[in-house]
């Protein structure tokens, strides 16, 4: 038998046929939807008088617009209120399971899928959201799609897609202490660029990914799209299966062994073909922070903001644009840049292990006066777990606001927004102009621990210096 990588195996198992335009008609086994990109798709179905083909394969939640400081409906924002009601209606009209705000299961769609056991190895998964690549951490092939494709999936459970090439990214050796999955993925994007992954799926591998927990793998896969890769995955292993065991939608005990051997069979074969291989030394990765307006504009905490005059001609204009927008100085150290807001949360870093890691270091430290610091759990499940462990109290005592689950300040479609040109140290995944709700707001991306260190000192800081004691 020819040796195949995981991407090819999963693709072949779901390919319905070839379309006229040369793309593949791909069956998508799991479809996740949320309130922002689905109402228009349901509208198109109604217009064409089409039913949802396999309602049992679609799951819904509400995350982007939910306020994280009020739970009572109607929400103060009438548009947000209309959107949640529309999703509720669509799910009930079409027979789709909805993890509503009163189920204890609501949260960011990419946090909810894995924690409910909906995300499993060997699946094809799609969602009308770019960060669907998160689910690849389980050895699934997961794509972010547009609303017309949401419609296509609702109507046919299939969509048109061109096959991707596969690049294996191996990170070998061991990470220095105080270096997180977020630093690893920011480092990868910095090396390969925001377009480096165009046309590719990324297979993450090597010592570092082998030793990562499932949640760390999710953090890395989450940002594949920021490097231009439509999907990113890690081959399933014992950690994957252990994570899934006993979750609400995981196979039950009777079917467990069969499921695991089936899952394992999707793993990339030893010696299979890759279209490209990149090797990275873990020792080269330090705490990494973005200084610019796309996620590849990142540097190590000890480095300085690039000087456009010294840059290659092709990069000069974009560096100048970023420096002007960020109101920072070329050649200045990134360390010591004053911040206004600190945000811990999002589908990149809003999981229980992220909150535990930060809480374990807070230890009497306090958020600096004048800094607004908020912690937004990724889901109601995360929030409950955290509260059972007393993390909410630790955060509150340190001066952080403790919020309800949602996307919140990651893209600021709810009331959590930057004001004016505030600078936010953020554990989210995008630092585009205006991303956090103010057209002039500024974002620096980093790990949750680095965000906490910035909240405490009021400036961008090496967390290892703050939390060393």
């Amino acid at each position: 038998m020819t040796k195949q990588n995981l991407f090819e195996k999963v693709w072949d198992a779901h390919a319905v046929g070839e379309l006229q335009n040369g793309q593949t008609q791909l069956f998508v086994g799991r479809h996740l939807i949320h309130e922002v990109t689905s109402p228009q798709a349901f509208g198109m179905l109604r217009e064409k008088n089409l039913p949802v083909r396999y309602p049992e394969r679609t799951f819904a939640t509400v995350d982007h617009i939910v306020p994280t400081n009020e739970t009572q409906e109607p929400y103060s924002d009438p548009l947000a209120d209309a959107m949640i009601k529309e999703l509720r209606k669509n799910c009930s009209d079409f027979g789709v399971t909805f993890f509503d705000t009163d189920t204890g299961k609501q949260g960011i769609v990419h946090v909810v899928g894995p924690e409910q056991g909906l995300t499993q190895p060997g699946m094809t998964i799609a969602c009308g959201d770019s960060h669907t690549s998160t689910h690849g951490a389980f050895g699934a092939i997961a794509f972010g799609i547009g609303t017309s494709q949401v419609r296509d999936l609702l109507a046919t459970q299939t969509m048109a897609l061109g096959k991707l090439k596969v690049r294996r990214i191996e990170v070998n050796g061991s990470l220095k202490s105080g270096i997180y999955a977020k630093d690893v993925i920011l480092h990868i994007i910095k090396l390969l660029g925001v377009n480096g992954g165009t046309g590719y799926a990324y297979e993450y591998a090597g010592d570092v990914f082998d030793s990562f927990s499932m949640e760390e793998r999710m953090t890395a896969c989450n940002m594949s799209i920021e490097g231009g890769a439509r999907a990113g995955y890690v081959n399933p292993d014992a950690k994957t299966y252990a994570y899934l065991k006993g979750r609400p939608y995981s196979p039950n005990d009777n079917d467990w062994d069969d499921a695991v051997s089936k899952w394992a069979s999707f793993g990339s074969d030893e010696g299979c073909h890759y279209d490209d291989v990149v090797k990275i030394d873990a020792a080269d990765i330090g705490p990494t922070v973005t200084w610019g307006i796309n996620p590849s504009q990142a540097i190590g905490i000890d480095e300085s903001i690039p000087d456009p005059a010294l840059a290659q001609t092709k990069d000069r204009a974009s560096i100048e644009e970023a420096i002007e927008y960020m109101k920072i100085s070329p050649g200045a150290p990134i360390k010591g840049t004053p911040i206004d807001v600190a945000f811990i949360g999002s589908c990149t870093n809003g999981r229980i292990s992220d909150l535990e890691e930060v809480a374990s270091q807070l230890n009497g430290h306090k958020v600096k006066d004048g800094i607004k610091a908020i912690v937004v759990p990724g889901s109601q499940v995360v929030s409950k777990l955290a509260e059972e462990k007393g993390l909410d109290k630790i955060f509150r005592d340190a001066g952080f606001e403790w919020r309800f689950a949602g996307c919140s300040m990651c893209l600021a479609m709810n009331p959590d927004k930057l004001i004016g040109d505030q600078l936010c140290a953020s554990s989210s995944n995008r630092n585009f102009k205006g991303r956090q709700g103010s057209p002039t707001g500024r974002t620096m991306l980093m790990s949750p621990t680095m965000v906490a260190a910035a909240a405490i000192t009021g400036v961008i800081t090496d967390s290892r210096e703050v939390f060393s004691a």
């Binding site: 779901h14 319905v16 379309l19 006229q20 335009n21 040369g22 793309q23 008609q25 069956f27 086994g29 922002v36 990109t37 109402p39 228009q40 509208g43 083909r53 396999y54 982007h64 617009i65 548009l79 947000a80 209309a82 959107m83 529309e86 499993q120 060997g122 699946m123 959201d129 770019s130 669907t132 972010g144 799609i145 547009g146 609303t147 017309s148 494709q149 296509d152 109507a155 046919t156 299939t158 969509m159 048109a160 925001v194 377009n195 165009t198 439509r230 499921a259 796309n294 974009s318 644009e321 893209l411 600021a412 479609m413 004016g420 995008r430 585009f432 102009k433 205006g434 991303r435 709700g437």
Partner: protein
């Protein structure tokens, strides 16, 4: 109703310079609170066009000369960032029917073709030449010829590029794949039944 076969698009053009124009800039997230795409045209490039106090910025889309443009000319990696279809929808609803750029982000490209809005790539030199022509002839017609892969402006003709599959689907009126997807009913049923998971 069969889809329109799109072999060429023509109209006056506007040049929006800049590389890596992301979907958050094409349509800021706060305008995505909508149940249909209908009104999105109004918010196209909103934060690039307006100051926070609502005053107009100096932006080509605010220039009276380009109010009727239906062809957009822009830089590299246009539409990077989010998978949100709100971005191409806002261009389409603002009256744009074709985009000429250095190149396009993948998801944005696919979403645009799905709407029947061709996205063709041109070299830097070609982009500069078209931009210059548009600057001199703001109401002149720019023709994007999908069949011959040319952009024509006045007496000039430039080479452009469009992925063969996407080009065929526009030429054959098959740019929206839904009908074709629906046809494969039997094969869909069989994969649904054979998958190890429901």
């Amino acid at each position: 109703m069969p889809l329109e076969k799109i072999s060429q698009v023509s109209g006056s053009a506007v040049y929006v310079p800049g590389d890596d124009i992301d979907t958050d800039r094409i349509i800021p997230a706060r305008f995505m609170k909508c149940l249909t795409f209908d009104g999105l045209g109004e918010y196209l490039f909103y934060d690039m066009k307006f100051h926070e106090n609502g005053e107009q910025k100096d932006h080509p889309l605010n220039d009276a000369l380009y109010q009727n443009a239906s062809v957009m000319l822009t830089g590299m990696n246009f539409g990077c960032g989010s998978s949100r279809e709100h971005a191409p929808q806002s261009l389409f609803r603002a009256g744009f029917r074709a985009v000429i750029a250095g190149n396009f982000a993948e998801i944005f490209f696919g979403n645009s073709i799905n709407l029947g809005m061709p996205c063709v790539s041109v070299s830097n030199d070609v982009r500069n030449s078209i931009a210059e022509w548009v600057g001199e002839n703001p109401s002149g017609q720019v023709l994007v010829d999908i069949k011959d892969l040319k952009v024509r402006a006045g007496d000039h003709s430039f080479t452009c590029d469009l992925r063969p599959g996407a080009r065929d689907s526009l030429l054959n009126g098959a740019w929206d794949p839904l009908d074709e997807l629906l046809e494969a009913n039997h094969a869909i049923e069989s994969i649904h039944g054979n998958l190890a998971y429901t």
